[in-house]
Amino acid sequence: MRIGTLSVRPGQRRSGQLVLGHYPDGPIVAPLTVVRGKRPGKTLWIQGCLHGQEVGGTVGLIRFLERLDPARIEGAVIAVKLANPLAFRGYARNTPIDGINLNRVFPGDAAGYHSQQVAHALMSTAIGHADALVDLHSGGESHIVPFYALYRDDGSAASREAGRLARAAATADIWASRDAWLDGALLTHFTLRGKPAVIVECGGGGGVSEQQVANFAGALEGMARALGILPGRPPRRARYRVMDQALLVYNRKGGLFRPAVEPGAVVRKGQALGAMLDFDGRVVETLVSPNGPAYVAALPRRYMALHSGALIAETIRIVEGG
């Protein structure tokens, strides 16, 4: 297998670099590790830090790789630890050089602007090498998300396989998404090209706890088992909670946000999600769920200072297993 700076033979673990763009004075590279089993099998692409602040997934990926033994696996794991190196270095959600949310511009364009070129490099390399893709995310600095798996539900065989992998990600919470605003996401285009892709979300709010790291590592292990890369059965739940169609809630007043529910809560339509406090300590706005019963998939952290028009919540309609 040849990828980036690496040439990897069966039974080898190699680390190198994948070029995703260029500084004025040199290449912009992602750290890359490939672990290839002695025996053939599926190839899984795993990436973290597509948004620069979402480092929990990268730490979980490092943890997962530490335990991966080339002698015990079938197929291969390709790990891209920083899918957006500039955003990681700038510690920003969006790519600093053009202010773009990289996960809205896939499949990208080799002749496009900077973020489009990064998207193109990721997409074309991944689709050329991998049978399945996992993209690790969190709520970043300002928001907290529960532990859930997200895939594109477009009715295709690839999407059904993605749904199967999502259910092996060590969480019972599954977002089977048909949301149009995720049309430019990497997982959407990977699935359109006929290969399964899953996002795993967990944590954020500026913190990375060891439990969250363990969740990411556990999700990766489960999906690697489901693909036959690792031996053993993937974790299965007796019941899953399945969601679709997120309604995004934005505030109209500025202030300090005080949450009324926890991320991962199930709320009624009209139930309060939190309040904006002004500098007299007054509640100037109460934000309610427009959806119900709905899963609160993102929420600003406690007392986050917010402008008007900030994302207050993703409320996703529960379609199964409320």
Binding site: I62, E66, G206, G207, V208, V213, L256, F279, R302, Y303
Partner: protein, 327 residues
């Protein structure tokens, strides 16, 4: 100045027995004034003035939440003198959600006393300190570790041989924590509390929390600190909580990384460690530990530590290790 009854902070004119609000202009946008909200609650009886401020560093919002909480509870009929809450000591840093002032990338709490004809941050500093000095009998500046570091709950004052410093030390011991930094650090020479204390106005910082989090327990700590200081000054009734023993530190050694990576702390804020104790590990993206920053003095108090798994550059401030002189 102790009986100041009708003093003014910006457009807020203090009145006995009343809660008043207004704005203090600290600078100017290209198109409008840069102002902070000011709320003053005055007792029906005269007494000293406590100036409390928050968010001199933009992400340190815990103190602001606590001021709102305290203001809900204040009853002018039970107060002597006034508590003035200056909500945002650095409004553009709050709006930009950044530690340093965005317009000139300056750490505002290093440029006091500032200058009326200086840089943007110097002008902001000048207005704050001159206004505070004209009305306040004591100043309390609320801080935290912000987004990227975590700090324990402690009081900090400038330790020198003066009445103002001794009074600041007394107030610091009324902040509801037994951890006291009696600073003799040169690098805090440009901090507001240092310059005010040297000018004869007892001033202190209370630190608590950070790491991107503001749990209710931290809000309660800040409220306890403001309440204890106001009780010590006789503004609020009751006695502040006092401890039989305090842990006191006098000088801070700042620990910087030499490598980059993801930081995993191995100590908690407020731990006391020996010289050479490993504070944490910097892990590179292959999972290897590339550096183990250590305490350079001991026994020392961990007054600040980068939060778990924070990406760090070389030369990042990993920790503050404060020399313990009493425990």
């Amino acid at each position: 100045m102790a009986a100041a009854r009708n003093f003014r902070i910006g457009s807020a004119l203090a009145r006995p027995g009343k809660r008043v609000e207004g704005e203090l202009v600290l600078g100017h946008y290209p198109d409008a004034p840069i102002a902070t909200k000011v709320t003053i609650v005055s007792g029906t009886r005269p007494g000293p003035v406590l100036w409390v401020q928050g968010c001199i560093h933009g992400p340190e919002v815990g103190g602001v939440v606590a001021m709102l909480r305290l203001l809900e509870r204040l009853d002018p009929r039970r107060m002597r003198g006034s508590i003035a809450c200056i909500m945002l000591a650095n409004p553009t840093a709050f709006r930009g959600y950044s530690r340093n002032t965005p317009v000139d990338t300056t750490n505002l709490n290093r440029v006091f006393p500032g200058a009326a004809d200086g840089t943007h941050s110097q002008q902001n500093a000048h207005v704050l300190i001159e206004t505070a000095a004209s009305v306040a009998d004591a100043v309390l500046d609320l801080h935290s570790g912000g987004d990227r570091s975590r700090v324990p709950y402690y009081g900090l004052y400038w330790a020198e041989n003066s009445d103002a410093s001794r009074e600041a030390g007394r107030l610091a011991r009324a902040c509801g924590t037994r951890d006291i930094w009696a600073s003799i650090d040169d690098w805090l020479g440009g901090a507001m509390f240092t310059v005010l204390t040297k000018r004869g106005i007892p001033s202190l910082i209370v630190e608590c929390g950070g790491g991107g989090q503001v749990p209710e327990a931290h809000v309660a700590n800040f409220v306890a600190a403001m309440t204890g200081v106001a009780q010590s000054m006789g503004i609020l009734p009751g006695r502040p909580k006092r401890f039989a023993r305090y842990r006191v530190f006098d000088e801070s050694a700042l620990i910087y990384s030499r490598k980059g990576g993801l930081f995993r702390p191995l100590v908690e804020p407020g731990d006391i460690v020996e010289k050479g104790h490993v504070l944490g590990e910097i892990v590179d993206l292959s999972g290897k530990v590339v550096e183990r920053p250590r305490a350079s003095i001991g026994p020392s108090y961990i007054a600040s530590i980068r939060r778990p798994w924070m990406p760090v550059y070389s030369g990042d401030q990993i920790a503050e290790c404060n020399r313990v002189i009493a425990s």
